[in-house]
């Protein structure tokens, strides 16, 4: 089983921090708005926002390494294997004869670190589409080509 590219930890951390920042802003605005409008001083202003900042930062810094440790994938001759989950574990097997098509996708943040996601589609409706989130861009491309090639061979 292969681990993800280690750079994905940084991507996850940054995504987490960004989300935390947006959340903090939202909570802060709400905080300010509610207190100003209805004169509700439940707690000192800024406490809710402060908590979001602390929790958000802690989670987005500490969680990604754990997540990384439990993320493993493998492309075998006849199946794709994905094992992940820190608290709720899951182990998915996708037979390659059921792969419909394969995409690579990269967010601006991923591109900055030279990473891509590999997305594997099957005809399943729910949870059947597998995503391998942090692969080196070249590796993702190579895997995409490899998976697509087998499809053609089988037909």
């Amino acid at each position: 089983m292969n681990p993800l590219d280690p750079r994905v930890v940084a991507v996850w951390r940054l995504t987490g921090l960004l989300t935390a920042a947006i959340l903090t802003a939202a909570v802060g605005v709400f905080d300010y708005w509610v207190i100003a409008r209805f004169d509700l001083s439940l707690v000192a202003p800024g406490v809710a926002a402060g908590m979001v900042v602390i929790l958000g930062c802690a989670l987005s810094l500490l969680w990604p390494p754990l997540r990384y440790r439990f993320w493993h994938w493998d492309v075998r001759p006849d199946r794709v294997l994905i094992q992940k989950g820190v608290v709720w574990r899951s182990r998915s097997v996708i037979p390659r004869v059921r792969v419909q098509h394969v995409d690579t996708r990269s967010s601006p943040l991923q591109r900055w670190f030279g990473l891509s996601s590999l997305i594997i589609y099957t005809a399943g409706t729910r949870g059947a589409d597998a995503e391998i989130p942090g692969l080196a861009a070249e590796e993702a491309e190579a895997l995409r080509e490899q998976l697509a090639r087998v499809e053609e061979l089988d037909e």
């Binding site: 709720w88 998915s92 097997v93 037979p95 004869v97 005809a123 729910r126 949870g127």
Partner: protein, 512 residues
């Protein structure tokens, strides 16, 4: 439908279409009324909006034309934006016919051509005459069938000579569900108890049932509370226990019977004259009293079959069966991906239904394997946690007698043990079976070649016990309930099973 509008094979919808569409006039009226409210000359606004909608409907009808050619169904329509849709016959999965009450009276149907994995590329012919619907169904579905390789694979008897035989001619009725059976289906449905609860709640808040009148026949008027009967009963409990008990009995009986009656009525209305027929690789069900539905599905498209047995039905040896098909667009509602195979059947007959869907499948020969014995612990812990939590809360807030609730742990253990017996799976290549559920047991039968992916999931609790749940993913799973899955198998065994099934799937090759 042989009228001047038929030029070069082009056909129009049934002439009553504008009439049925004119329900939209109601919306126009509403829009007009709202607009008038906001100011402006009322009558003018109303006339203009209604006129505009009437014009829209008429022009829409005149613009809608369709044609069946050698290899496709072509539809031209659109009032402002013209649309020309070409649906290759090879993509059409089947044609469903549906007729509401008004449509049945007028002798017309709504025909819908469903396409494989279509992204909204389906055709809705609203409305055509009944005969035209049947004709479309036969020409669009029957001619295409032999092109489909999966059907040939399954139906060895499918010879090219069938090309010319229309579907209807080789259709045989497998089973007709009688009125009596439908009454039983309604009476044993889980819906009955839900209805009782809904009626009770509804009457509590809205007071729409004649419960006051009913209670006043049994209970002296001075004890009657002026509020809704259910509320009144609660108050009565504080004054006169005997009256309360009589009232409780009467109301329970009343609501029970009412809920039951409605459940039976809906079952009969929905599934009236349920008929399942077979023709070639296709199964066709038709049912309904007010809205008559007629749906066909090809055996090769069936993703899995679900057997549902509520506890009441298990005792009576009854079950209901449903099939899940794929090939419907993502916009299709979940319940339309699921088709009733039979609303009710004796368990002895299940094998017949199953072999109609999966030829060669032997229901009697299935060897069930239980889940891991430790599953019993988990089933118990799940219930025990709730009991302990509630009793502790009661003890803290209401007094130490709350701990008496801990006695419920004993029945919880028995329930867990009983529940365990209903968990199981049976890998009997080329099918996989799973079952779960104590109050309503659901059994899934999945053809191995329909498996899309396999997921072994573990919650933290399961991990401690070394258990896992193996979920089997097929196309067209609705979101309403769990798909086929084997709950609480041993972790190592689960991984083994997952790998074996994946190898079995690979052996079946690509299937589309």
């Amino acid at each position: 439908m042989s009228s001047p509008d038929e030029q070069g094979g082009w056909r129009r919808l049934h002439p009553v279409t504008p009439l049925l569409r004119s329900v939209q006039l109601l919306y126009a009226f509403l829009i007009g009324a709202v607009a008038a409210r906001l100011g402006g000359p009322t009558v003018l606004v109303l006339v203009v909006t209604i006129g505009a909608v009437a014009l829209w409907i008429t022009v829409g009808y005149l613009r809608y034309r369709y044609r069946v050619t050698e290899d496709s169904l072509i539809i031209h329509h659109g009032v402002l934006f013209r649309q020309r849709r070409v649906i290759p016959r090879s993509r059409i999965q089947n044609v469903d016919l549906r007729a509401g009450l008004l449509q049945q009276i007028l002798g017309v149907v709504t025909a819908r051509a469903e396409t494989a994995g279509g992204q909204g590329t389906e055709a809705l012919l609203h409305v055509v005459s009944r005969e035209e619907g049947e004709r479309l169904k036969e020409t669009l579905v029957a001619l295409r069938a032999p092109l489909d390789s999966t059907v040939q694979m399954e139906d060895v008897e499918a010879t090219p000579s069938m090309l010319v035989v229309p579907t209807a001619a080789r259709e045989t009725v497998l089973r007709r569900v009688s009125l009596g059976e439908l009454v039983i289906a309604g009476a044993t449905s889980n819906r009955a108890s839900l209805l009782v609860a809904a009626l009770l709640g509804g009457d509590y808040f809205l007071d729409f049932m004649p419960t006051d009148w009913l209670l006043s026949r049994f209970i002296p008027p001075e004890l009657m509370a002026p509020e809704t009967a259910v509320k009144g009963l609660v108050q009565m409990a504080q004054h006169n226990v005997q009256a309360f008990l009589i009232g409780l009995f009467v109301l329970t009986l009343f609501f029970g019977l009412a809920g039951w009656a409605i459940s039976i009525l809906t079952s009969v209305m929905r599934y009236f004259d349920f008929t399942i027929a077979q023709g070639g690789g296709e199964l066709r069900v038709s049912y309904g009293l007010l809205t008559r539905r007629e749906k066909g599905f090809r055996r090769s498209r069936v993703q899995n079959v679900q057997i549902e047995e509520s506890i009441l039905r298990r005792w009576l040896g009854l079950a209901s069966l449903r099939v899940q098909t794929a090939g419907y667009g993502p916009g299709v509602k979940a319940d339309e991906r699921v088709e009733t195979l039979t609303p009710i059947t004796r368990t002895g007959e299940i094998a017949n239904y199953l072999s109609a869907v999966f030829p060669g499948f032997d229901w009697e020969a299935v060897e069930w394997r239980p889940s891991h014995p430790r599953a019993r612990q988990r089933l118990f812990i799940r219930r025990a946690l709730v009991i302990v939590l509630v009793s502790v809360l009661l003890a803290t807030f209401q007094g130490p007698w709350g701990l008496l609730l801990l006695v419920a742990l004993a029945p919880a253990w028995f329930l867990a043990a009983a529940h365990y017996h209903h968990l199981g799976h049976a890998p009997s290549d080329p099918y996989v079976l799973t079952r779960e559920g104590l109050w309503t047991r659901r059994t899934h039968i999945v053809p191995t070649r329909k498996i899309q992916s396999l997921h072994l999931r573990q919650s933290p609790f399961q991990r401690r016990l070394g258990l896992g749940t193996l979920a089997i993913e097929t196309a067209g799973n609705p979101y309403e309930w769990h798909g086929p899955r084997s709950v609480d198998v041993g972790q190592a065994y689960g991984v083994d099973l997952q790998e074996t099934l994946a190898s079995d799937v690979t052996k079946t090759g690509p299937v589309f």
